[in-house]
Symmetry: C2
Subunit: 593 residues, 2 copies
């Protein structure tokens, strides 16, 4: 049975030593003193390790079941969901007006990582509700907000997102679900939606489905898509639950992982729906959920990698196998622990340097969201919008790879379900796919975000890296050599790739799009490189200040050096690929495959 | 439901256009005329696609079950196994003396790829028997050969390999299973073995377990390990089956994949065993199986990638989603097929250039084995021994990644078991682990094989690449630029890595071992680069000779150019990592993880 412990200390280091939350002028950050955030993180850690994690394997083994039209979640999920609700966790970063605690998003993100590491399938019920509530918060009428938000903020009611249909996922313009206007201002929604996470279950008394559909007679394609609120039970004027709406579960999908979450085919048969936001502007409203969801999914990539890594470390220390070639480390035992072996070290250092770098990246991104939403900072909004596909695509790809590496440490035991490492891999796999497959993230990045607002966000990113390097170089040779120089080099590779796109994408957009996936990955590496340079700076400052826990900061420096020396140089390979252009990528006739 | 079609044409191209089988002086190769090999491959293709592949999903879904001590395979496996036996496939490359067809190993390898693509879990029953028979062939007494081989060559009896115990996998010196000598010359074998593939089942009337155990009083550690034949039913002098031996199934493991193969915990309780080969030389005897098994496992990496790729291509052509940014390709349809999109192309080209390159690599390796075994060529033996960990480690790592990429083409459908893509990923995962986890392959390569016989095999490899480049450059600018130059560059990177190991491994072996995994991968890339240069040469010759199927050869050239431009340059990244040395890899205290 795998274990999980909350990385509170590492989060505190990032929040305070690196990101200096209380030193920021973002509204609400002045309250985020180290003792305060520690208290929250420790409580979140308790429920994660004590309540959610023990149900992770249970959820995987039992899965959800559909009986007579009703979906049942695995044993223990209902009681755990009650505990999560009682703790007020779902409304942590939601407005007080609707029963939330109005914490900054950065705190919700840190807590979200723990919950997701402990039990991704379980946490999705709450996560989707959060996304749906955010969309209602941003686009709902006052009445809609009053009707739905208090119940959703508390998770008494949960939420879903309904986009995909059997014949369309990425290309939602092909959508067939229709919403016919009724005399009372409501709509009748009819159609089939698939892959609906948390589509039905026994954890809440009502489920608020947000459904994309087309109003007949509206514009063709994606411009004729609107968003609707379709509650499982119609809400009466007094707020109590009325009749069952005409929405039903077609089936529960059998998936590779996240078995504890009910992924449903949902059938809408003239279900009563209410327009959310403007007619035909459904995609805009949906994107409120999508952007948040994408960052949340990027976090899942980190979260599964973290959980898998922790177990790989335990196994590598416990399992005795072979001897250290440079001299026995465990002379009294029959063999040395796996962790003495260089290739096991390489494997673990890949994981460690990724998870810690990714955590800093996600939390930095979360502060930018707070800066944008709470501080009204358009530049921060532009920057995080640019980085959203990177957070989603890079962190889930790498996070998945890390779960595979963690599984590898276990040898044959990694392949046996009993040991739990296979589940991390199987659960992590979905994050590369949902909320826009990673290829679509790359397309969003290169095809849309790079050129957005005249390219000013990507320029701002480069300026930020440049300023950092300038401000922090020249004072220490080792730091310059180990952190600043590699970061400069990687950033230069990234700029060269952007330049290649500009110069060659005009004459043939495929020259840019053929390199989009590589660009997303090199962008991710540069972000993690920047994070490691910032973390190393903070660690050096702490050591210089005589920090009591010197080993913690020394470890940070070594882990950072590993990343800069062994992971970051991947940018050069990505650049080589990008600069090879579209010819060999697009050269074949489709019939030649 | 996924589909599979046998890549007969591609195999024929490799066997004849590239490897020129009949032009070789390896004994038996003169018979391998194109029509002859095509006939075999087409027959193998029929049974693969018609009999084995339809059972692939069945095996995954049903798995094996243990009832009252007896293991039952999934529905249809027994009948299919009969068909495989009737076709004489298990004995294809086994000696005629024992009922085999005495074909070269290269033919068995090509057929093996098809079987494994069609149904890996099923094919393992036969594959393990082949390995066990090879060990008996190499190390058994005449009596043992007569008793077991005819039945094993026909697969009336199957075989297993018993190495791993709960506390030891890689480090077999820790083994506890013991074999006590009896007065009649036999042994009583007692102990527990785990992860025994095909450990028990209902496909054969007897199972010949090859079991590693220690004879009490023998040398300590790995030098005291011997190999024993332990049949499930004792074979009487007349060859008929006698009493049930004291070996039983403890349980069937629940695994991530290959559910159709029964992976058993085997308990030996004083089971009658017969020494195979010399006492205390069990590892040597076992390595006869292991080397063959490692190449077979490398082939599984390719085989799963091939099957997954074929389905990804079908889906990419069928699924309509979005429009080609350079102009609609399907104006009459609601959208263009996925295959028009550059990032889908990148994904598919990664897969295509890998599978075709890997196939050439494996088949080339198989000819070297024939050259060594049939032709008694020590140089070929040394070369293939050097490349065995590369074939195993590189092809299974990359093969797995390709199944993940193929799954990604399907978007959400790739995560749903019904579509079958998850199974390819889950099945492919084991190949990175069994027959020596890939980290152990890297250790074998760098820690043992590089320096073997004074390093002469690796020098021979470099000479081979150098000669190829020299002999084939200067006649065509495009070929030089697209193939020869990238191959030279990659080979130079590999040599530089070897040089780094020599110069720095002496003072600290960790400098070499920290880079072993990267070295294995760069070696693999150079091998595939060499294969592509050879395939491109053959394709150019065919085109110059006025081949009727010009499109086939043009496609080869473009696919090869893709590999050289986009995949092969990974060697530079691996070299950068290797040259960063052991410091950041080994720098942390074990307690800092």
């Amino acid at each position: 049975m795998p274990s999980y412990s909350a990385p509170t200390k590492d989060m505190q280091f990032i929040l305070h030593d690196v990101l200096d939350l209380t030193g920021s002028d973002i509204p609400g950050y002045d309250e985020l003193e180290p003792d305060f955030t520690r208290a929250i993180l420790e409580e979140a850690g308790k429920i994660s390790t004590g309540v959610l994690h023990p149900l992770n394997v249970v959820g995987d083994t039992e899965g959800c079941r559909l009986e007579n039209g009703v979906v049942y979640t695995p044993t223990g999920f209902k009681a755990a969901f009650e505990q999560v609700k009682e703790g007020g966790w779902p409304g942590l970063d939601m407005p007080e007006e609707y029963g939330g605690q109005n914490m900054p998003y950065v705190i919700g993100t840190a807590v979200g990582e723990m919950f997701s590491s402990a039990n991704q399938a379980f946490t999705m019920y709450q996560g989707l509700t959060h996304g749906a509530a955010s969309a209602i918060l941003a686009h709902g009428s006052d009445e809609q907000k009053q009707t739905y938000l208090p119940k959703m903020v508390s998770c008494e009611w949960t939420g879903t997102m309904n986009l995909t249909e059997p014949h369309c996922g990425t290309d939602l313009g092909l959508m067939r679900t229709k919403a016919e206007p009724q005399d009372d201002g409501s709509y009748k929604v009819t159609g089939q939606k698939i892959f609906i996470s948390a589509g039905d279950h026994d954890l809440a008394e009502n489920i608020v489905h947000l459904v994309l559909a087309k109003i007949p007679g509206g514009p063709e394609g994606i411009k004729g898509v609107s968003l609707f609120i379709v509650p499982k039970f119609i809400v009466k004027e007094d707020g109590s639950l009325g009749e069952r709406n005409a929405v039903s579960v077609g089936k529960i999908e059998e998936k590779m992982g996240i078995h504890g979450n009910s992924t449903c085919v949902m059938n809408y048969d003239g279900a009563v729906g209410y327009l959310l936001g403007e007619a035909h502007k459904g995609m805009r409203a949906m994107f409120t959920m999508m952007n948040e969801a994408r960052i949340g999914v990027g976090m899942q990539g980190l979260a599964q990698a973290e959980a898998a890594y922790q177990n790989a470390v335990i196994y590598a220390k416990d399992r005795l196998q072979g001897r250290d070639v440079t001299g026995t480390k465990n002379p009294d035992g029959p063999a040395d622990p796996l962790i003495v072996h260089p290739d096991i070290r390489r494997n673990l250092m890949d994981q460690k340097s990724f998870t810690e770098g990714a955590r800093a990246f996600i939390l930095w991104g979360a502060t930018l969201i707070d800066q944008a939403h709470r501080g009204g900072d358009a530049a921060a909004d532009g920057l995080v919008s640019l980085m959203t596909p990177v957070i989603k695509g890079f962190l889930t790809d790498q996070g998945y790879d890390m779960t595979v590496q963690a599984q590898q440490v276990y040898g044959g035991h990694g392949y046996i379900e009993e040991w739990g490492m296979s589940q991390y891999t199987r659960d992590a796999r979905i994050a590369m796919i949902y909320e826009g497959a990673n290829g679509v993230q790359a397309l969003d990045l290169v095809g849309r975000k790079l050129a957005q607002d005249g390219g000013k966000h990507v320029m701002a990113f480069f300026d930020l890296v440049k300023s950092f390097c300038k401000e922090n170089s020249g004072s220490d040779e080792a730091y310059d050599r180990d952190f600043i120089e590699p970061l400069k080099k990687a950033s230069k590779d990234l700029q060269a790739a952007g330049m290649y796109f500009m110069q060659n994408g005009m004459k043939n957009p495929n020259n840019a799009l053929s390199g989009s996936y590589d660009f997303m990955h090199m962008f991710g590496h540069v972000c993690l490189g920047l994070m490691w340079a910032r973390m190393a700076k903070a660690a050096r400052a702490a050591l210089a200040g005589g920090a009591t826990d010197a080993a913690f900061y020394e470890t940070k420096l070594m882990t950072g050096r590993y990343y800069m020396a062994r992971r970051l140089p991947a940018t050069a390979l990505h650049l080589t690929r990008i600069e090879s252009g579209a010819e060999t990528v697009m050269g074949l006739d489709a019939t030649s495959f």
